[in-house]
């Protein structure tokens, strides 16, 4: 389909003030039918705010919205939906106990006898709709029984069912596996060919270049530029987004590994269902090297991390930190033996979100002098130390007395990193250390990990991001179905690793 010459959606001078923050400052934006237009920016740059204004959830303080050439003023998202705007949020708004079809037709249900839901008609309409866009989805499945990627499709279908011609996706890949993200890209291409106009909010450079036709970069509420993705590079986009040169490739010297500080010997671990999750895994990490563990999610990495850090029972084998056998010792013993642990999930584990930053930073040290003496805590000392650490690790948006929940994800992660590094651990275990972070924060975390390596710590990096593993590791182990199925040097290609991650190299009958 030819791209029409007139934009379907045009924003002029949108300004939105929240107390203390200018979320959008005179932002212009336009969207053509049949294009994917990415909205790129760091966390807190004002991307979601801008689109929430378009969707009627917020009202702009200044500026105007033109939809199909007419000036509109939405009082609520209902108005926006009626005018043909659909939005898929990061957190889906689906009813778990209802079926796919019921969720999609909600608020516009086909009825029989005046009031009753005509379920067969609903199912048929949803099926036809899904088929016409080549979606693979079962209209009878309950939402609670389908995966996140499928749920996202239901959200998209819901918008299509309501005859949206502008579709806004708020960080759609944040919740998806790499495979699901690829499928989503395919879906968006199909929709584009049907003439749909799509806004794609993201802070990931690769997918913006991959999926979008044009990209508008926001930084601190201001529009920096709008450009064609053809000809743009990751480096150029990152520079626009962060406002300075960003090193996407980590600079590091060759490693000079010394004595082994973490030894994992023939470790087997059971998962929550008492099934073997890790089987006979052995490796060591030496001082001054970064060892990366690559693998598709769910191949025993989480259980292995838990076993090393004393949070899960080691079924068989030994874990040695420094010279101390910590097998079966519990988290306290492992911490005291000198292991720092940046956990996979900072909300579930890394932070007590309702604690202040000072309290969070003391999570391992609160019972030792100078934080406390004879069970008596010295809050001022916690605060003083926190102040120093927040500055050193450039944590923004909070003082020592701010609750951890008030910080952005990147700054929360910096707090975790600060706490784990500050104890001067011999071994640093970093699990998914940059999950959900934006470019600037990723650069920071990566640089810190390499610095820790250079100071002679043993760093074990577990990540689902191949790029991260490849750019940081000095040695790479691949995990598949609970076993280490290969070891590679830092120069291995993604293809080779990718194949190993699918288990193809696993020695049969060995």
């Amino acid at each position: 389909m030819e791209a029409a010459s007139a934009p379907i959606l045009e924003l002029r001078g949108i300004t939105k003030q929240f107390p203390g923050v200018l979320a959008n400052d005179q932002v212009d934006f336009d969207l053509m039918p049949g294009e994917v237009h990415a909205l790129l920016g760091e966390n807190g740059a004002g991307k979601s705010t801008l689109m929430n204004i378009v969707y009627g959830l917020y009202r702009a303080d200044m500026g105007e919205i033109m939809l199909k050439g007419k000036r509109v003023n939405f009082g609520s998202s209902k108005d926006a939906i009626r005018s043909g705007i659909g939005m898929v949020h990061q957190h889906f708004m689906l009813i778990p106990v209802m079926t796919v079809a019921e969720n999609i037709v909600l608020a516009e249900e086909p009825v029989h006898d005046g009031v009753l839901l005509d379920y067969d008609a609903a199912r048929k309409r949803v099926k036809d709709l899904a088929d016409s866009f080549n979606f693979h989805i079962d209209p009878n499945a309950r939402i609670e029984n389908i995966g996140v990627g499928q749920q996202q499709r239901v959200e998209i279908l819901k918008a299509l069912y309501r005859r949206a011609d502008v579709l806004i996706l708020d960080e759609p890949t944040a919740v998806l596996t790499p495979q699901e993200a690829t499928e989503l890209a395919g879906i968006l291409r199909t929709l584009k060919q049907e003439g749909m106009a799509i806004v794609f909010i993201s802070h990931k450079l690769n997918e913006v270049l991959d999926i979008a036709d044009r990209v508008t970069v926001l930084r601190r509420g201001k529009k920096i530029d709008t450009l064609e993705t053809k000809g743009a590079t990751r480096e150029s986009l990152a520079r626009l987004m962060v406002g300075r040169e960003v090193l996407l490739r980590v600079e590091k010297k060759p490693s000079s590994p010394a004595e082994p500080l973490l030894k994992v010997e023939n470790v087997s671990v059971l998962d929550d269902r008492q099934l073997p999750a890790v089987q006979d895994v052995s490796f060591e990490v030496r001082a001054g090297e970064i060892v990366g563990i690559a693998g598709v999610d769910g191949n025993g990495q989480t259980e292995l991390i838990d076993a090393i850090t004393g949070l899960r029972k080691v079924d068989e084998g030994r874990v040695v930190v420094g010279s101390e056998d910590v097998t079966g010792g519990g988290a306290r013993e492992v911490i005291d033996a000198g292991l720092g642990h940046i956990p996979e999930d900072r909300h579930r584990r890394g932070l007590v979100l309702d604690f202040t930053l000072a309290e969070n930073l003391a999570l391992h040290d609160y019972r030792e002098a100078p934080d406390s003496r004879f069970g008596w805590l010295f809050p001022r000392r916690l605060i003083a130390r926190a102040r120093k650490l927040l500055q050193e690790f450039d944590v923004r948006g909070g003082t020592p007395l701010t609750r951890a929940s008030a910080l952005s994800g990147g700054n929360q992660q910096k707090v975790v990193v600060a706490r784990e590094i500050e104890r001067d651990p011999r071994v640093l275990l970093a699990a998914q250390p940059t999950r959900g972070l934006d470019v600037g924060a990723i650069e920071f975390v990566h640089r810190r990990l390499v610095e820790e390596r250079d100071e002679g710590r043993a760093v074990l990096l577990v990540s689902l991001e191949l790029d991260e593993i490849l750019s940081l590791s000095d040695r790479i182990l691949v995990m598949y179905e609970g076993r280490i199925v290969g070891e590679y040097g830092p120069d291995v290609s993604d293809e080779e690793l990718g194949i190993a991650m699918t288990g193809a190299t696993e020695p049969q009958a060995a």
Partner: protein
């Protein structure tokens, strides 16, 4: 009042040139603090309002009824402001004081003594619920723990009559507290080891304590009095174990020094939570057990300890009631007591903070006293109905606090509906 943080902030005339000091985070913190005070007050007001509707439905005037109840609480004593003197304890010095403490026998003063007498154990049972809450547990067992404390203290207090006054009191309170801690510790231990839910186990322990009391003080029971075997009640607490009455007539249930124990308990509660490593662990476990475990904290140990400390609080409340003004414990007393259960409402309304528990204990103590048969003129409102009013308000508070979120939402909605006005109209933080 502040404006809401959110979509409806009025547009500023000009965007501020500099990012000023009130960041979003600090605004949020203020907002939460504001909501933190506003919602309990709203909760209480709403409960009284609904209670008023019921009063009106019975054909009485709610306003005069509430005024009578208020006068019965003795809180009107604080209205009698004048220029008086207060003797500084342990000295002969006198300082100026706005209220006349020497007038211990006026009606208002007497009523206030009774209100504070009732508020004292409520502070303890409220803290028992609040402390467990802070560790992420719902302690329904305050009643049983209170009974255990009362039973142990009446046993110790009525035995060893020859002991010196100080040691006897301390022994009675100490043993009662330990017994309550052990009692509640059972629930904590079961949660820590086999994962038994504390709501179930504490309710069961309540009944066990109840029936132990029925048996021990009942006819032929081991702790029944030895002067009249037809009366199912304990021996009287010996003179040496009775608490000193510092305000009012000792023979007419004056206010005993257990009141100061309650104030001390509030301070201890607050300090323990905020200033000790134990409190740090308890709060970490309460907020996020998984993060606490990751941080090297033993979640099980804290479940046990928090529950035991909670039980110690409730039991101390029971001991002070016995040694302070009841002096004996009977089968009927155990049947009729609801102090432990009101403690749940106290903690909920007080939002598990020391100040909140103090204020809501005072509120419920005043309600209990103001609606009692002695204090309420039957011409205004029948005291039998008024007693139910207390129960109703208590129940409504629990209900509304359960619907905390709803009130938060209503509050936000109300803020949103307010007419837009300039930013200058903000109240200082």
């Amino acid at each position: 009042m502040s404006e809401s943080v959110g979509p409806t902030t009025p547009p500023p005339e000009t965007p501020p040139a500099t990012p000023g000091p009130p960041s979003v985070a600090s605004r949020m913190a203020f907002y939460q603090r504001a909501g933190g005070v506003v919602t309990p007050i709203l909760t209480a007001v709403l409960a009284f309002f609904v209670g008023g509707i019921v009063v009106a439905a019975t054909g009485h005037n709610p306003l005069t009824t509430y005024r009578e109840i208020f006068n019965g609480t003795g809180l009107n004593w604080f209205f009698q402001v004048g220029s008086h003197e207060l003797r500084v304890p342990f000295t002969d010095a006198h300082v100026w004081f706005p209220w006349n403490v020497n007038d211990a026998n006026s009606e208002a003063a007497f009523n206030l003594q009774q209100t504070l007498l009732l508020a004292t154990p409520l502070v303890f049972t409220g803290l028992a619920v609040a402390f467990a809450f802070r560790c992420g547990m719902f302690n329904i067992g305050g009643q049983g723990q209170y009974i255990v404390g009362a039973m142990v203290s009446v046993w110790v207090g009525s035995s060893w009559a020859g002991m010196a006054k100080g040691p006897h009191i301390l022994l009675a309170i100490g043993l009662a507290t330990l017994a309550g801690a052990a009692w509640a510790g059972i629930a904590g231990f079961l949660k820590a080891t086999v994962g038994a839910h504390e709501v179930i186990t504490t309710i069961m322990l309540n009944w066990i304590a109840y029936w132990i009391g029925q048996w021990a003080f009942g006819q032929g029971g081991p702790l029944q009095n030895n002067f009249n075997e037809s009366v199912p009640v304990s021996n009287d607490v010996a003179e040496s174990a009775r608490l000193h009455v510092f305000w009012g007539d000792p023979l007419l249930q004056g206010l005993h020094i257990g009141f100061f124990f309650a104030i001390a308990a509030l301070v201890v509660y607050s300090l323990t939570l905020n200033r000790t490593t134990l409190g740090y662990e308890v709060r970490a476990v309460g907020f996020n057990p998984e993060a606490a475990r990751y941080g090297g904290i033993s979640v099980r140990r804290n479940y046990f300890l928090a529950m035991a400390i909670a039980g110690g609080f409730a039991a101390m409340g029971g001991a002070l009631d016995i040694l302070g003004w009841q002096f004996r414990l009977g089968v009927i007393d155990i049947q009729n007591s609801t102090i432990g259960f009101i403690g749940i409402a106290v903690a909920l309304l007080g939002r598990n903070t020391a100040v909140g528990v103090a204020l809501s204990a005072l509120l419920f103590g005043a309600l209990l006293n103001g609606t009692s048969t002695r204090n309420l003129d039957p011409d205004v409102f029948q005291p039998e109905l008024a007693g139910n009013l207390t129960l109703m308000i208590q129940a409504l508070v629990v209900l509304f606090v359960g619907a905390d979120l709803l009130i938060m939402v209503l509050w936000q909605r109300a803020q949103r509906l307010r007419p837009k006005r300039s930013r200058a109209g903000e109240a200082p933080v």
